[in-house]
Symmetry: C2
Subunit: 726 residues, 2 copies
């Protein structure tokens, strides 16, 4: 359920060129043919066939979309239908074997057994590059399936346009109404060799103006194509082992920009040249952290790091143009525009991690979020946005956390006051998800909102982040207003049970209530057991409410050791059974900071133990190595930071809680030119406890590392032990 | 069946803002509710209700499309459905009476009886301007129906996007798949007064991502709207006789351009100011010909002239950007881009007329056609194009005639050689409509093409036009090739019957054949009787084939006097019974030059008589005054030129055949600063015969006027009589 993809991309690239194993849910009869959720990333390891290689993929999401421009090479009799997994011969798909498959950063290779074609993929930022090595045949085909896509709802295609410019190039666009409500991706496609013929089939099933078809046979060699459901093919003669290369560039703005992207980034470069560049690019980015450890640790570490550098993606043409939320074309002024903000997930660790290791990109991400705000006629910062759309997914308004964290940590070069005002405007959108009631009553009445408790708790944290930003900017009035709001978590805390609990409009707590259940209880992706610890900005306040450090620690112990019965597990979303430790659900995000709470309870050794336990349990270098969706890098960012020995419990604060490093040694090559080194003396799988911590020779006793401690460069040394230091 | 519209437009304006009386064929049950063909222009005089006012209309076509952005003011309980003509209360439509209706150039007014609202319309080039005078009510509504449109096929809407920017303005776009296969119109809309609330209803009937609807009530006051079938409303309180003005600008390129068009052209101008400008604009254009005659003659003349200045329309934003056939945005360099080229109709008289009275615009139209050619990946000049689409309607490749005529007459300022090469490329497109066979065999085999004879005859004329252009440019080789092709009409001439007749691949004429029938006979919009005279470029050759002048003249007599039985009338397209004189079908175009052929047969008095007869019979200043579709001005251009006394029998030649002027006096104010005056001495309804013609005092005896005779300025005097001068 990791929902990552094995194909080729460059760091934060617009193109994610990756195999699909069964995403084409739009069969000829208009019915789904598979479980759409499973195919969020297009690829399932257990599948036996590949339907083709498409150019856009989310990494680790729990909703599906994208899957644009599926390309598939075949030989023999032309088949334009993908066929079915159970009967691959019924269509253009091919069987494949993992033994014929290689996946590297920026490169993917597989043998398509049914056609004896070697398929290789690589990419630039905006261009997917294919190399298909054919057998000798006068019936070689390359299919461009414009119907194919990764869906959550049926009938996603809205419109397609294609224009064949000459016998090697075509341009066009594809418009969808999927998870993103209104999304258009333009493309330009270039073959290394002229096709001998080409054609299309339109599956619209709609009566069209027939004058059109009377004048030409438009099914073959007719260069101006439009319709809702179109598949195209291109025919070649090939010699034994002849390779045909395909470059397909995408653009959010226009066909002309797509062609310009193609020429600028790929142009006359060969597949091998582009692959080399892509891998150099990855090495450069991944070398920002150099670790020492076992091979398995390094595979795990760099796999996680790789996954943190995929989303958000660059959403801007080589010439700086991008499509805004207002569906207008904009020119990015002084920043790179990014999209795919899964903020409910990523505000926790991914963006704080970027503030250390990718501060320039993170500042641009904030600028992209501000552009979204300015283009929003609602005047709201993004909630879950991608491809010039707001998907309104999940709770909270966590943009404010990302913005506060970036500004407080000194990374943002834009107008900080304007950013604060955008945060305030978003937090005051009274008709959004109970905010009006939240402002008036201090909580959201359970009868008015299905996720009333999650929302109240997350708003309270977000409000604290706004308060911190206001304080940082000297805006006392805003600080006072929002620091007060940040205490609203108390209104959902039921002292009689010691848990967060939905509250009714009349002020009473909801009567029917189950601590283990999620749905219908006022929560999302977490039950009360997990959400009751969601006060990342005021652990001491929460501890006090829960009856003091001892009781609090016992409650944490209980969380990590309890058994969640199957009936309630089914309630958790997007994770496997392995994504759970006791009642602690690491596969979802709400409790990601919770293991670090032992530090506040006076039992840091339990943080150390649990963090190492989670690192070991939840991240494995196997096809099913993740306990839940990677969530566009949040899960992996948790891994990286926790492996390095610290974690941002409350982004917006400069403090990191110290856990237990899992690596032996790591050097962070910071963008400011300084290095920060982490060393774990006596590191071993058994030595999970921290005996002593020296920062530049000076002991840290409060298990807190400051952001400036890292950014100033230097060295932190952990002395590891197999005994807890109580 | 004139298919003209009564609403407001400026000369060649992008916006044609006009009432619809029943065009909304997409009822809630997805069925048509009317005869789509009848509603090509949106308005039927016999209808009793108005559904609203939309911004784009063809003038006089026989296919339907457009009808974008229908706006309707109402009062009382909100109704978002248009309702039905038989039960107007069932929806937002209103009854109206012609006694409450005024239509002027650039202005339209009607009382909406059901709501006691006075609706007035005017326009700029790119902005439709509405003024609605309401009664006192706190339930005033202005509906924006984005589902409404003029269709030929069902389900035209592809996508809609709307963004409410503030309480007075919105922008968005509407994308359709109608007659134009892929068409997007962007808009910006501005109210003179803030609306108090607004909302939308989405009729997609499609399951959408529900996270979206959970977060907000999107039916009301939610500013970011997208879907396939959307209707919006805006609410106001009004005082008695309070007027609300609405400006709605369109753009082929973007919302931003639409807003810019609105600000540049309408901005803070009042309805009255814009109306005054629109009417000044019309007076300026219509004053290019100043006539003397009876009031009825003048009404007829300027109505016709008005109809010649509607299509083609400007298809370009105020900033010079337009959407090309390649669906890319282009910047017009040194010309105004036009669209809506109904060339099979308009090459005959409308464009030649423009070469006299609108040469600058006609040159830009040729440039627009060349831009289309350059953007076409087929490399073909337009056939029937509108809104960045090629509709492939009707026979021939008559762009070449328009281009040759403009260049030969010295109006084109672009690259003439490139234009010639575009003509040659188009004429050599072997896989288009039988051209390959036409080139190889000299005719199109009847079994291969449903309109084989029309095509062969029209290609032959077009080839002659290409030859004339080649000759003009000194391209002897091209001249030789195409002048030879121009004689291909002979290959469909059946000497045994003396008529044009379909011919089979084996060279034999088709056995089953009926001179009176159209369909299945190899013709389109004309039977063999009409098409047998379609050799406009070589009347003498045709006369010879038909057995000499006497026989030829008798055949013409027979055409004008025969009776076309009802069974064959049903075969003719797009015309009323009144559109026929004997067997001569003036309501369609193929015989438009035929009355002038008597000049070649040595019986010019019959040309004079027939032309005056047609002018009288076929053009009346009544609601049903046209005998057939006005065909984007071709019918009206025939009227203007014939009324002035001459007609371009073969565009591409500098010669006009002289007929019989219907006006007493006309002064043509030419763009070169010169005037050309036409005077008809002793003009009267009975004096249809021409006794003598003096051009600048010198007698014309060959019934031929040269283009240069007109453009050099001067005066032609016709001496009229009631007796034919045999």
């Amino acid at each position: 359920m990791g929902h990552t993809f094995p194909g080729a991309t460059v760091p934060f690239g617009s193109v994610q060129l990756s195999p699909e194993t069964d995403t084409i849910s739009y069969e000829l009869n208009g019915k789904y043919n598979g479980d759409v959720y499973k195919y969020c990333a297009g690829y399932r390891y257990e599948d036996k066939t590949i339907t083709g290689f498409s150019h856009t993929h989310f990494s680790g999401t729990g909703h599906s979309d994208l899957g644009d421009f599926l390309v598939m090479p075949t030989t023999g009799k032309l088949k334009l239908n993908p066929g079915t997994a159970s009967n691959p011969e019924s269509g253009y798909r091919s069987r494949f074997s993992h033994s014929d498959e290689t996946s590297e950063a920026g490169y993917y290779k597989v043998k398509l057994q049914d056609y004896n074609i070697l398929a290789e993929l690589t990419a630039t930022t905006r261009v997917g590059v294919h190399r298909y090595t054919f057998p000798k045949t006068d019936q070689a085909h390359i299919i461009l399936d414009l119907m194919a896509g990764i869906y959550n709802y049926n009938n996603k295609n809205v419109w397609t346009y294609v224009r064949v410019n000459d016998d090697r190039t075509l341009t066009g666009y594809r418009q969808t109404n999927g998870w993103a409500r209104t999304r258009t991706v333009y493309f330009a496609m270039k073959f290394s060799k002229p096709f001998k013929s080409y054609g299309q089939k339109n599956y619209d099933g709609k009566r069209v103006y027939n004058g059109f078809w009377r004048k030409f046979d438009q099914s073959k060699n007719f260069p101006e194509i439009a319709g809702k459901q179109i598949r195209m093919y291109f025919d070649f003669n090939t010699q034994e082992n002849e390779a045909i290369e395909v470059q397909l560039a995408i653009s959010p703005v226009s066909q002309a920009n797509a062609m310009e992207n193609l020429e600028k980034e790929a142009g006359n470069l060969s597949f091998d040249q582009i692959k080399t560049k892509a891998q150099e690019n990855w090495n450069k980015e991944l070398n920002k952290i150099v670790t020492k450890g076992t091979e398995d640790q390094k595979v795990n570490f760099y796999t996680a790091m790789y996954h943190t550098f995929i989303n958000p993606t660059i959403y801007m043409d080589a010439n700086g143009e991008y499509k805004g939320l207002d569906q207008n074309t904009h020119q990015a002024q002084g920043f790179t525009n990014y999209t795919t903000f899964s903020l409910w997930d990523t505000y926790r660790a991914l963006h704080p991690y970027f503030n250390i290791i990718q501060p320039k990109r993170n500042a641009d991400m904030v600028k992209s979020m501000m552009a979204h705000y300015e283009q929003s006629s609602l005047k709201m910062l993004p909630i879950w946005s991608h491809y010039a759309n707001e998907n309104w997914c999940m709770s909270g308004y966590h943009s404010v956390s990302v913005i506060a964290d970036a500004i407080i940590k000194g990374n943002y070069t834009g107008d900080a006051k304007a950013a604060l005002m955008a945060c305030v405007a978003t937090a005051n959108k009274r008709n959004y998800e109970g905010i009006g009631d939240y402002i008036d009553k201090g909580y959201i009445p359970a009868e008015k909102n299905g996720t009333s408790v999650s929302n109240t708790l997350e708003y309270a944290y977000d409000d604290w982040a706004i308060a911190q930003l206001a304080k940082h900017l000297g805006e006392t009035e805003i600080y006072n207003q929002f620091i007060k709001r940040s205490e609203n978590w108390r209104n959902n805390f039921d002292k009689t049970t010691g848990f967060m609990r939905p509250r009714m409009a009349d002020g009473n707590f909801k009567k029917e209530f189950d601590l283990l259940s999620t749905h219908g209880q006022g929560f999302i992706e977490g039950n009360s057991w997990n959400y009751s610890f969601f006060v990342p900005h005021n652990p001491d306040g929460l501890i006090q409410q829960m009856g003091g450090k001892q009781k609090f620690a016992s409650k944490l112990d209980q969380l990590f050791s309890m058994h969640l019965p199957d009936e309630f597990f089914a309630d958790t979303e997007d994770i496997t059974r392995e994504g759970i430790i006791g009642g602690y659900v690491h596969g979802n995000e709400p409790a990601h900071h919770v293991a670090y709470f032992y530090n506040w309870a006076g039992q840091p050794w339990k943080t150390q133990k649990q963090v190492r336990h989670i690192l070991e349990m939840q991240y494995k270098s196997t096809p099913d190595g993740l306990g839940g969706n990677d969530d566009t890098g949040q899960m992996s960012a948790w891994y990286i930071l926790s492996s390095l020995g610290f974690y941002p419990v409350a982004p917006g604060s400069e403090d990191y809680a110290i856990g237990s490093p899992a690596i032996k040694n790591a050097v962070l090559a910071l963008e400011n030119g300084k290095n920060f080194e982490i060393e774990a003396i006596d590191q071993s799988p058994g030595n999970v406890y921290v005996k002593k911590i020296l920062l530049n020779g000076k002991e840290i006793k409060n298990f807190t590392l400051k952001h400036s401690d890292i950014m100033n460069g230097g060295k932190i040394v952990f002395y590891m032990s197999n005994k807890p230091k109580k």
